[in-house]
Symmetry: D2
Subunit: 502 residues, 4 copies
C-alpha cells in the first residue's frame, strides 16, 4: 500500500469484503452524534481550531524517517518533532485547569493505584485534553501506548510532550492512510509488552487487533469505546457472537450525551457562525432542520441572541416540543426563500437539496451541525453552471449564474468540529467517563461482565457528574436516612431509574 | 359506614390488612407526578379554580336523596342538579375549542366506530375536559358509565350535562367517603350491563371491582390507568401475579410526562404564585428544591420573568444540568435566610423542615409543586407558639412570636392543583392518550397483550402528538423513501428508539 | 345634577364649553400610560381584582346618608362602613411589607418632620398602597384630607381604616358622578382648614379648586400630579399662562415609567390572560401591536413562556428594536388570520378594526394593554348580526353568524387594570416619588420653582431607586474620590445626564 | 518630528498648552462608548480581527517613499500597495451585502445627486464598510479625500481599492505619528481643491484644519463627527465660542447608541471571550461591572448562554433595573473570590484594582468592554513579583508567586475591538447616519444651522432606521389620517418626542 493522502476519499477500503461488511455500516438512528468518530467517517475532517495552535513548519520529512530520542533516552515513539515538547506541556497545563475532575480523580485514586498493572493501548484524537486523560491513567498505575484515531487532528506539540515523559506515542498531524495503520500497529505490536485494556474511538484499533493479533484478546479485560461508529461496530460484533471480551459503551452515558449535544451545540453554533461569517444574530431568520438534542441546543442559543428561528421535523413528538418552546414548525420549502441561515441537525441525508439551494436568497448561509457531511447535498453544487469562490478558510461562496451567492460553511461538514472549538469542560466529562470505565472493567470481579456491550452503571454516571460539580462551586444536598427510606433510595445513589429522561 | 366528610383523613382505610398492603404503598421514585391521583392521596384536595365556576348553591339535600330525571326520561344517574345541564354544556363547548385533537379523532374514527360494543366504566375527575373525552368515546361507539375519582373535583354542571345526554354519571362535588364508594358501586353494579373496559385514575375503581365483582374481569379486555398511584398499584398486582387482564400505563408516555411536568409547571408556577400573592417576580430570590422536570419548568419560567433562582439537588446529574442552565446549586441551609420564595419539587418529604422555616425571613413565601403534601413539614407549624392567619383562600400567614410572617400557600398541598388552572391543552393530551389506549386494548388481536402492564406503543405516542400539531399550525416534514432507507426508519414512524430521552 | 351612575358615559360633561376645551383634550403622545387616570377616562373602569377583596354587602344606603363616627369621636369623613376599619388595617399591613421604601422614608425623615405644617388635599385611587403613602405623609408631619379619583376603585375597608385613624376620607366604591364631585368638595371646602399642597391623579381635584375655590391657590405651595391626563392638563394650563403655582410631573420620572410600563406589563400580561382565559402560552401565535415600553414588556414575557410573537409598529426605530430583539415586524392584516391572541399597546385608536375582527380565526383572544378603550373598535362589534355571550367576568364571546367566536377581554378596556393585579412594589415606587415631590415642593426655597411644570430632579429619582434597593438586598458601589473626579461626577449623584435613555 | 512608532505612547503631545487644554480632556460621562475614537485614545489599539484579513507582507518600505500609480494614471493617493486593489474590491463587495441601506440610499438619491458639488475631506477608520460609505458619497455626487483616524486600523487592500477608483486616500496600517499627521495634511492641503464638508472621527482632522488652515472654514458648510471624543471637543469649542461652522453629532443618535452598545455588545462579548479563551459559558460565575447599555448587552447574552451573572453599579436606577432583570447587585469585593470571569463596562478607571486582582481565584478571566484601557488597573500588574506569559494573541497569563494565574485579555483594552468583529450591519447604521448628516448639512437652507453642535433631527434617525428594515423583511404599519389626527402626529413622523427613551 502506497503513501496516499486522504483528502479525496471518504472511506478507507478494507482488504476484503467480509471486513467491510462487518465494520462499515453506518449507524442508523437519529439523534446521536459524537465528537469523535472513526477514520471511516472523520479521520479526514480537518480540525481548524486545533490546527491554529499547531506547528505548521515546512519540515516535510516524514516522522517515520526521522530518528528522535527524548531527554530520558527513549526512542519508543514517533512524533513530528520531539523538540516541541515544552510548548505542548504548556498546552496540557492550560487544559488541566478546566479538567479538575480528572485531577481530582488522580488525587482520590492515586494512593490505591487502581490501574496498577494495566497495560492500555489507546487510539483517540491526540489533543491537550487527551493528554490529561493519559497522564491520569499513568498516575493511577497504568502503562500506556497511544495512537491517533484521526489523520489530521493530532496536536504535534502535545504528542511530543507525551513522548517526552515516556508515553509511547505514535501520531502526527497529516498522516497518510498507510501511516495511520502503521502507527496503530506500532502501538499494539511491540516486544515484551502486551495490552490488557483497549481504549478506542471509532473502532479502528479494535478492528486491527481483531484482524492481526486476535490472540491479544486472551489477556484483554475489556474495551472502552466512545464513538457512535465504534459502538455500532461493537454491537454488531456482539450480535454476530464475535465479541470476545466485555466492552463499555461510554458514548451513550447521560452526561456525555447532554453535554456533547445540547450544551455543547448551544455554545458552538454561535461560535462557528461568528468565526466564519461575522454574522449579526439579531433579527436573522434561521431555519433549523431537526429538533433533537443538537437542534434544541442550536435553537436555544440563536433565539437567545435575537434570531427568529423556525424548525423542521419528521417526528411529531419533537415537533410538539418545538411548538411549546416557541418555534414555528414548518416545511423547509415553505420558508426557504426568506431564510438568512439554514442549519441541519438531523443525522439524515439530503435534507437540504439542490432544489432548495436554488431557491435560497442571496447571501443565505448554509451549514451542518448534525452528522457526517451528507445532510446538505453539497455534491449537487459541484456542477459547471455554479462558481465556487473560497472567501475565507472554511467559507465558500457558491455563485449562481444570476449572481446570487450562497455561503456554504465547511463544505457541509460538521460546523462545530471544523470552525469552532469544543470546550475543554465537555471533553473533561468524556475523558473522566473513559477513565472510570477503564477502572471498572479492569477491577471488576470475574464474571460481572460477560462478552457483551455495557453501559456505564448509572452510579458511575452520577460519579462523573459529581466530580465536575466543584467546577461550579455546586453543593449537593444529602438525603437524610428518613428521606432515603421514604424515597426507596440508597443515600449514595443511583437516584433515578434507568429510563429517566433528564 | 357512616357519612363522614373527608377533610381530616389522608387515606381511606381498607377493610383488612392485606388490601392495605396491596394498595397503599406510595410510589417511591422521584420525578413523577400526576394531575390525577387516587383518593388515597388526593381525593381530599380541593380544586379552587374549578370550584370558582361551580355552583355553590346552598341546596344541602344529598343527591342520593333526590329524584331526578333528564329530558329524555332517564333516571340512571346521580348528580347535584340536572337543571345545570345547559350551563355545563357551555363549559364543555369551551373546552372543545382547545381539544381539537379529540374532535379530530372523533372525525377520523367515527366512520369505523372502533369502540362499537365497548362498555366502558370510568372513574376520573369529572370536568369539562373529561366530558369531551367521554363524548368522544360515545361518538366512537362506546357505552359509558362514569364516576369521580376525587370527592371535591367534580364540576356539577358538567356532570349534569353528561347525564342529560344519557351518560350514566354518578358524581358530585363534596361527596362523603361513603358517597364515593356508593357512586363507584352504582357504576359497576347495574342490571343488564357489564363493563368490558375500565378507565381508571388512581386505582380505586379497579380495586372495587377486584374486591366486589371479580367476575367482571372475565369480560374485561383491559384497564387504562393514568395516575402514578394507580400505575404503581397495577405493577404491584402484576408482580404479585394477581393482574388478570392487560393494563395500559398512560402515565409514563412521553407526551404526558413532558406536558404535565415541564411545560405545564412552567406556566402554572407563575399563575399559582400570582393568584395567591400578587407577587412581582422581577428580582425575587427564589430557591427551587429539585431539578427534575417539574423543577426545570418552574426555574425556566421564574428566571424568564426576572427572578434570581438557585436550586437544591441530591442527584449530581440533575445538579450539573442546573449549573449548565445557569442556576447556582446550593444547600437549602446556605441560602434560606435570603430567600423571598421557597418552592419544593422533589417528591420527597420534609424537604423544608421546621428548622428552615424558623430561619426564613419575614414575608418569605413557601409552596409545594412536587408531590402530595409531605414536602414541606407543615405539621411542625401547627404548634402553639405560632399563630396561623388565613389572609385569603389558600393563603396562610404563619406568625412567629417575634412577628415574623411566613406565607404558606395551599397548606403545603400542590400549588398548581390548588391555586392555578391546568391548561385544557395539557388535559387534551392526556385524554387523547386515554382514548387511544382504550381503542388499542379493545381492538388488539387476542394474545398481543398478556396479563401485564404496558406502555402505549411509541407509534401511538407519536400519533397523539401529531393530532395536536394542528393547534399550532405546525407542518411535519415527511421522509423520502431514500431518506427513510438511509435512516433505517419506517416513513410513518416510530422515529426514535425507546430509550430516547427527548 | 341628579345621582346618575356612570356606566354608560365615557366622559363627564363640564358646565360650559370653555372648561371642556381646557381639560378634555386627550394626551397625544404614544408610549405613555398610567395606572391612574382622571375620571374623564377611567373613573368608570372597574377594578375587578381590588373588588374581590372588597365588601360586597348589600347595604344599599348611600354613605352620604349615614351618620358614622370613628372610635376617637370624629365624624369628619364619609366612607362605606367605618366598621370595616380592622379588616382594612390588615390590608394596609400586608401592603407595608412590600413598601419598605416608604417605611424607610418614614424612619429617615421622621425626626425632622419635613412636612410639619403641610396641609395636603389628595385625590387618588384609595387602596391599601395609597394608605401607606398617606400614613407616611402624616408621620412626616402633614395633615391630610383625601378623596378618590375613580368612582369604582376605592377599597372600602381601607377608606374605613384611614378614617378610623383620623384622616378625613371621603370615598367609597361605586360613587355616582354627583357623589364624586361632592366628595372632592368636602375635602377642599372645610371650616378652619386650608390646603397648602395638592396631590392629584387625573387633574379633577385641581380642576375643582380652579373652578370653585381659586383663592386656595394663594396658599398652595405646589401641585404633585401623577397621571398622563392630569399632567397634560397642567402643561396646557402652563401654556395658557393660567398655572398659578409650581407643579411637579411625577408621571414622567424614569423609575415610574420603566416600572409602570416595561416591568409591570411584563408580569401583568401573563396574569391578565391567565386569569381570564386559562390560556396555555406555549406555542401560541401572538401579535402585539406597538413596541413601546408596554409592548416590549408584553413581548418579553410572552416569548419567555414559549409564545411565538410578532409585532406591528408605525415607528421605524421601535420596529428595528423589535427585529433585533427577535420579533417579526408585520402588518396586522398579513397575520390576522393565523393569530391566537391579539394585544394592543399603542395609545392609538381603532388599531384593531371591525374588518380585522371579521378575519380572525375561531377562538382568537383580543385584548388591550395600551390606553383607554379605543384601541380595539369594540363599538363596531355591537351590531345586530353578532351575538355577545358573557362567559365569565370580564370575558365576552362575540359570535359571528357562522359560529366563529372571538374572545374579547374587559370589553377592550385595559387588561391589566381590569383583570390582573398591580404589584405593590410598583405602586411603592410611585408613592415614594409622590412623597418626595411633596417634600421637595413644600421645602423649596422661594423662587426655586416658578409657576411651571417640573420633572423631579434626577437626584431624587435616584433617591427613590436607592430606597427600593434593600428589597432586593442590592449593594451599591461607591465611587472613590479619584474615580468621581475622573468621571466628573459628584459621589452622591446624579450619575447620568438628563437625556440618558436607561 | 521624527518617525516614531506609536506603541509606547498613550497620547499625542500638542505643540502648546492651550491646544492641549482645548482638546485633551476626556469625556466624562459614563455609559457612552464608540467604536471609533480619536488617536488620543485609540489610534494605538490594534485591530486583531481586521488584521487577520490584511496583508502581512514583509515589504518594509514606507508608502511615503514609494511611487505608485493606479490603472487610470492617478498618483494622488498614498497606500501600502495599490496592487492589492482587487482583493480589497472583494472585501468591499462582501461588506455591501450587509449594507443594503447605503445601497438603497444610493439608488433613491442618485438621480438628484444631493451631494453634487460637495468636496468632502474625511478622517475615519478605513475598512471595507467605510469604503461602502465613501463610494455612496461619490455616487451621490461628492468628491472625496480620505485619511485614517487610527494608525493601526486601516485595511490596506481596501485603501488600495479606493485609490484604484480615484479616491484620494492617504492611509496604511502601521503609520507612525508623523505619518498620521502627514496623511491628514495631504488630504486637506492640495492644489486646486478645497473641502466644503468635513467628516471626522475623533476630531484630529478638525483640529488640524483649525491649527493649520483656518481659512478653509470659510467655505465649509459643516462638520459631521461620530466619536465620543470628537463630539466632546466640538462641544468645548462651541462653549468657548470658537466653533465657526455647524456641526452634527452623530454619536448620540438613538440607532447608533442602541446598536453600538446594547445590541453589538450582546453579540461581541460572547465572540470575544470564545475566540480568546474557548470558555464554556454554561454555569460560569460572571460579574459585570456597570449596567449601562454595554453592561446590559453583555449580561443579556451571558445569562442567555447559561452563565450566572451578577453586577456592580454606582447608579441606583441602573441597579434597580439590574434587579428587575434578574441580576444580583453586589460590591465587587463581596464576590471577587468566586468569579470565573470579570468584565468591566463602566467608562470609569481602576474599577478592578490590584487588590481585587490579588483576590481572584486561579484561572479567573478579566477583560474590559467599557472604555479606553483604564478600567482594569493593568499597570499595577507590571510589577516584578508577577510573571506575564503570553499564551495566545491577546491573551496573557499573569502568574502570582503561588502559581495562581489570572487570564488578562487584550491587556485591558476593549475586548470587542481587539478580539471580536463588529457586525457590518452595525457599521451600516453609523455610515448611513453619517451620509444623511452630510446631506442635511450640505443642503440645509442658510440659517437653519448656526455655529453650534446639533443632533440629527429625529425624523432622519427614523429614516436611517427605515432604510435598515428591509434587511429584516420588516413591514411598517402606516397611520390612517384619522389615527394620525387622534395621535397628533404627522403620518410620516417623527413619531416620538425628543426625550423618548426607547
Amino acid at each position: 500500500m502506497a503513501h496516499k493522502h486522504g483528502h479525496a476519499r471518504e472511506r478507507i477500503q478494507f482488504a476484503n469484503a467480509e471486513d467491510k461488511q462487518e465494520f462499515s455500516k453506518f449507524p442508523t438512528k437519529a439523534g446521536r452524534r459524537s465528537l469523535s468518530r472513526s477514520i471511516s467517517q472523520s479521520s479526514t475532517d480537518s480540525y481548524s481550531s486545533a490546527a491554529s495552535y499547531t506547528d505548521s513548519s515546512d519540515d516535510e520529512t516524514s516522522p517515520r524517517d526521522k530518528a528522535q530520542v527524548n531527554s530520558h533516552g527513549s526512542t519508543d515513539f514517533c512524533v513530528k518533532n520531539i523538540k516541541q515538547a515544552e510548548f505542548g506541556r504548556r498546552e496540557i497545563e492550560i487544559a488541566e485547569q478546566d479538567m479538575s475532575a480528572l485531577i481530582s480523580l488522580r488525587k482520590r485514586a492515586q494512593g490505591e493505584k487502581p490501574l496498577a498493572g494495566a497495560k492500555i493501548v489507546g487510539c483517540t484524537h491526540i489533543t491537550a485534553q487527551t493528554a490529561v486523560l493519559i497522564e491520569t491513567l499513568v498516575a493511577l498505575g497504568a502503562q500506556c501506548r497511544w495512537t491517533a484515531c484521526n489523520i489530521y487532528s493530532t496536536q504535534n506539540e502535545v504528542a511530543a510532550a507525551l513522548a517526552e515523559i515516556g508515553v509511547a506515542v505514535f501520531a502526527w498531524k497529516g498522516e497518510s492512510e498507510d501511516d495511520f495503520w502503521w502507527c496503530i500497529d506500532r502501538c499494539v505490536n511491540t516486544e515484551g509488552w502486551q495490552a490488557n485494556m483497549i481504549l478506542d474511538d471509532g473502532g479502528d484499533l479494535t478492528h486491527w487487533v481483531y484482524k492481526k493479533y486476535p490472540s491479544v484478546f486472551k489477556k484483554v479485560r475489556g474495551i472502552v469505546e466512545e464513538s457512535v461508529t465504534g459502538v455500532h461496530r461493537l454491537y454488531q460484533l456482539s450480535k454476530a457472537g464475535k465479541l470476545c471480551v466485555p466492552a463499555m459503551n461510554v458514548n451513550d452515558s447521560v452526561t456525555k450525551q447532554k453535554f456533547d449535544n445540547l450544551y455543547c451545540c448551544r455554545e458552538s453554533i454561535l461560535d462557528g457562525l461568528k468565526r466564519t461569517t461575522d454574522i449579526m444574530f439579531g433579527g436573522k431568520q434561521v431555519v433549523v432542520c431537526g429538533y433533537g438534542e443538537v437542534g434544541k441546543g442550536c435553537c436555544t442559543a440563536l433565539k437567545a441572541l435575537g434570531a427568529i428561528v423556525c424548525i423542521t421535523e419528521i417526528d411529531p413528538i419533537c415537533a410538539l416540543q418545538a411548538c411549546m418552546d416557541g418555534f414555528r414548525v414548518v416545511k423547509l420549502s415553505e420558508v426557504i426563500r426568506q431564510m438568512d441561515v439554514v442549519i441541519t441537525c438531523t443525522g439524515n441525508k439530503n435534507v437540504v437539496s439542490r432544489e432548495q439551494l436554488d431557491r435560497m436568497k442571496n447571501g443565505c448561509i448554509v451549514c451542518n451541525m448534525g452528522h457526517s457531511n451528507t445532510e446538505i447535498d453539497v455534491a449537487s453544487l459541484r456542477s459547471p453552471e455554479l462558481t465556487w469562490e473560497r472567501v475565507r478558510s472554511q467559507v465558500d461562496h457558491i455563485i449562481w449564474p444570476d449572481g446570487k451567492r450562497v455561503v456554504l460553511l465547511a463544505e457541509g461538514r460538521l460546523l462545530n468540529l471544523s470552525c469552532s472549538t469544543v470546550p475543554t469542560f465537555v471533553l473533561s466529562i468524556t475523558a473522566t467517563t473513559q477513565a472510570l470505565a477503564l477502572i471498572e472493567l479492569y477491577n471488576a470481579p470475574e464474571g460481572r461482565y460477560k462478552q457483551d456491550v455495557y453501559l456505564l452503571p448509572k452510579k458511575m454516571d452520577e460519579y462523573v457528574a459529581s466530580l465536575h460539580l466543584p467546577n461550579f462551586d455546586a453543593h449537593l444536598t444529602e438525603l437524610s436516612d428518613e428521606q432515603a427510606k421514604y424515597m426507596g433510595l440508597n443515600k449514595n445513589g443511583p437516584f433515578k431509574p434507568n429510563y429517566y429522561r433528564y
